[in-house]
């Protein structure tokens, strides 16, 4: 549910600087933002730092070194990065495909866009439940395939849930995130119009050349903040790996929860360190997001 309608806003270059009142205050927005956003973030991150240093919680000293040397943490981080990368990339490809094929005003295009956008507001946990029931080896797809005599038993259905490649999680990510990226792509298309590609066509470029050198690069550039938003959201999501993901390795948010609820104190303290690492990843992405926005 990120950024819903704010999406188009991220990339619109605005030339209304002249129309801004000269007396605009700096203090008011900074104080407001500091109180409403800065304080909770500082508290959140502050506790993780304090926990890592052993000021709160019961972390044994040297937690950072132990966590960095822990193979399980590395594997979890790699799994989470894989899910976020693959999920975002596939959702992006799907969104571009649909935007390019159904971007016009034909009746079926409007229907296609409406259908594709349907999963947009569906809460993640609902998507997770649906995918679990649909994609398990004893799930609905497997039963239908068996009914059609494509399979002899549940074991022949590919393992999509709780599989080491987290395919079930990735399918759920694509289902949830494709609509968002599609809306962003569509609004970009309608804003940008066809002037540039028309010009390229007039200059003798083939349809494919126009797509490759004009349309896609422009779309991708405009979509990059939204792509990062999706990536970060998937990286931090607990529900999808909880319901659909592998038990080994665990996705990063799951590992944080498991360590936090472990009964021995050392593991409990390490949860702060792993959470801090996940936070640093996310904050890095936030900086990249801001960097790529060109309207600010």
């Amino acid at each position: 549910m990120r950024l819903l309608h704010s999406a188009p806003v991220n990339f619109i270059r605005v030339n209304s600087a002249t129309s801004r009142p000269a007396h605009a205050s700096r203090a008011v927005p900074l104080v407001l933002a500091g109180t409403l956003l800065g304080v909770p973030i500082a508290v959140g991150v502050g506790y993780l730092v304090a926990g890592t240093l052993g000021i709160v919680g019961n972390a044994a000293p040297g937690g950072m070194q132990r966590v960095l040397a822990d193979g399980a943490v590395l594997r979890s981080a790699l799994l989470s990065l894989w899910i976020a990368t693959a999920g975002t990339a596939i959702a992006l490809c799907g969104a571009l495909l649909i935007a390019l094929h159904f971007g016009d005003q034909a009746r079926e295009s409007r229907i296609a866009r409406r259908i594709a956008a349907l999963p947009l507001p569906v809460p993640t946990v609902a998507a997770a439940v649906a995918m679990l029931l649909l994609l398990s080896q004893g799930g609905w797809l497997s039963r239908i395939a068996m009914h059609l005599h494509l399979l002899a038993g549940p074991a022949e259905f590919p393992a999509l849930i709780q599989d080491p490649w987290a395919i079930g999680v990735i399918v759920a990510v694509v289902w949830k995130e494709l609509p968002f990226l599609l809306l962003v792509a569509l609004s970009l298309q309608s804003l940008r119009g066809t002037a540039l590609s028309d010009a390229a066509r007039t200059l003798g470029a083939t349809r494919l050349q126009v797509l490759r050198t004009v349309t896609l690069p422009l779309l991708l550039r405009g979509m990059s903040p939204s792509i990062i938003a999706v990536f970060v959201f998937v990286l931090g999501s607990l529900e999808l790996p909880l319901v659909l993901g592998p038990s080994a390795p665990l996705a990063l948010p799951m590992l944080i929860q498991e360590r936090r609820q472990a009964l021995d104190m050392a593991s409990h303290g390490e949860a702060y360190v792993i959470a801090l690492l996940a936070t640093v990843l996310a904050l890095g992405a936030a900086v990249a997001h801001e960097w790529l926005r060109d309207d600010a």
Binding site: P40, A50, A155, Q261
Partner: protein, 404 residues
């Protein structure tokens, strides 16, 4: 220093922070009062009970049967909220860390390693359970009820139910199931991919039972945690597991997260066995439509682990008196009987039924002798007690680290 830093962090973060209220009356202080004044203090109060809220049958028993009776008989409003096991320990630890005088919950549902962790971190109030009037009928001669994973409850928790681990099979699919661990091992090898265990409580209890069986029985592990014994036993257990791994579901590379996931695999024909910490789930879960109607419980002849579950009162409980009244009501014959009905929950009683008045005895007997359930004497014959919670903790950690 630490407090100061935490305090500064919080004061800078919160406007309303740093206010300290007076601490409430603890369970230990309440326990020295006469029962009548406990009842008087409890009247008109609310008890928040943090418990496992995963089973609608249990929820219905608490919300629709226990709560209205408590209100009618004692004027206590019972509010059940979610939280169990490690979550409880984490929650109470954080409450203690935060320095706030009162916590949210007055009663918690615990046993075994959760009780051990709460006790060692001084997160439980007490002793109090020895003063409950209804405690007189508790079967204190039973080692499964009088000890919690070998620990003396010492008045810091009060029992309210017993369960025993059982495997569950589908009598339509597997009419001749294995009856011993050796038979099960052979069965798994002949039916690759059709068996697994979950990685939470039921699965670990199953593994612990296998550890007993492979190492000379539960007696080997009696008398507290012994690291040498544990390591030798772990080697035998893990060698056995390694030899089975290629024949398990997903070749032992993945394990269902919880027993519900295991039930789901079983019900949908992905595997041929599931298991449960409650021997009667084959009946209750079939009534709920979660397991096939042909599901049957199966107690391995090598013995399966039985244990009791308890309620405790947190150190920072806002309403210890109310919590004690609830714990006492849970021990009453009417509550214990209702809880044991297969249509309600089928959770075993902690009372010594023989000492109850004759009218109650007949009622209990008719429930226990339900033909759908595993016969009581079979259960008793193969019941094995829990050992020190350290075994459970170590096994869970080592399994996660080495076998998962």
């Amino acid at each position: 220093m630490r407090r100061a830093v935490v305090g500064a962090l919080l004061c800078s973060a919160t406007v309303a922070g740093c206010a300290r209220e007076a601490p409430p009356v603890t369970a230990a202080q309440m326990a020295v009062l006469p029962w009548d004044s406990v009842l008087a203090r409890a009247r008109g109060s609310t008890v928040i009970w943090r418990m496992w809220r995963g089973d609608p049958a249990v929820n219905a028993f608490i919300d629709a049967w226990v709560a209205p009776r408590l209100l009618a008989q004692y004027g206590v409003t019972l509010q059940a909220v979610s939280g169990q096991g490690n979550e409880l320990v984490d929650q109470l630890s954080v409450e203690k860390e935060s320095g706030a005088a009162t916590g949210a919950a007055s009663l918690v549902w615990i046993n075994g390693e959760t009780f051990a962790a709460l006790r060692s971190r001084q997160l439980l109030g007490g002793p109090w359970s020895q003063v409950l009037p209804a405690g007189a009928f508790v079967d204190s001669a039973s080692p499964i009820i009088s000890r919690d994973f070998e620990q003396d409850p010492a008045g810091y928790e009060s029992p309210w139910g017993t369960v025993q681990l059982a495997l569950i099979h589908d009598s339509a699919r597997t009419p001749q199931p294995p009856r011993t661990l050796a038979e099960l091992t052979a069965w798994i090898r002949v039916h690759p991919g059709r068996f697994t265990y979950d990685q939470s409580f039921a699965g670990m209890t199953f593994l612990k039972g296998a550890m007993y069986a492979l190492n000379g029985g539960a007696e080997t592990f009696r008398g507290g945690f012994d690291s040498t014994k544990y390591l030798a036993a772990r080697t035998r257990l893990f060698t056995w597991l390694d030899s089975l791994k290629p024949f398990l579901w997903r070749k032992g590379a993945q394990y269902p997260v919880d027993v519900a996931a295991l039930h789901r695999l079983f019900a949908n024909g992905e595997i041929d066995f599931t298991m449960s910490n409650n021997q009667n789930e084959a009946v209750t879960k079939a009534l709920q439509g979660i397991l096939p109607r042909t599901s049957r419980a199966l107690v391995l002849r090598d013995g399966t682990i039985a244990n009791a579950h308890f309620v405790g009162i947190p150190f920072n409980a806002p309403n210890a008196a109310g919590a004690m009244v609830v714990a006492n009501f849970l021990l009453s014959a009417e509550a214990q009987l209702e809880k044991q009905r297969p249509a309600v929950w089928a959770d075993g009683t902690v009372l010594n039924v023989a000492r109850l008045p004759a009218a109650w005895r007949t009622k209990f007997d008719s429930v226990v002798n339900d033909p759908r359930l595993v016969p009581a004497d079979t259960l008793r014959r193969y019941a094995r007690p829990e050992v020190s919670p350290r075994y459970h903790e170590r096994l869970q950690n080592d399994w996660r680290r080495m076998m998962r």
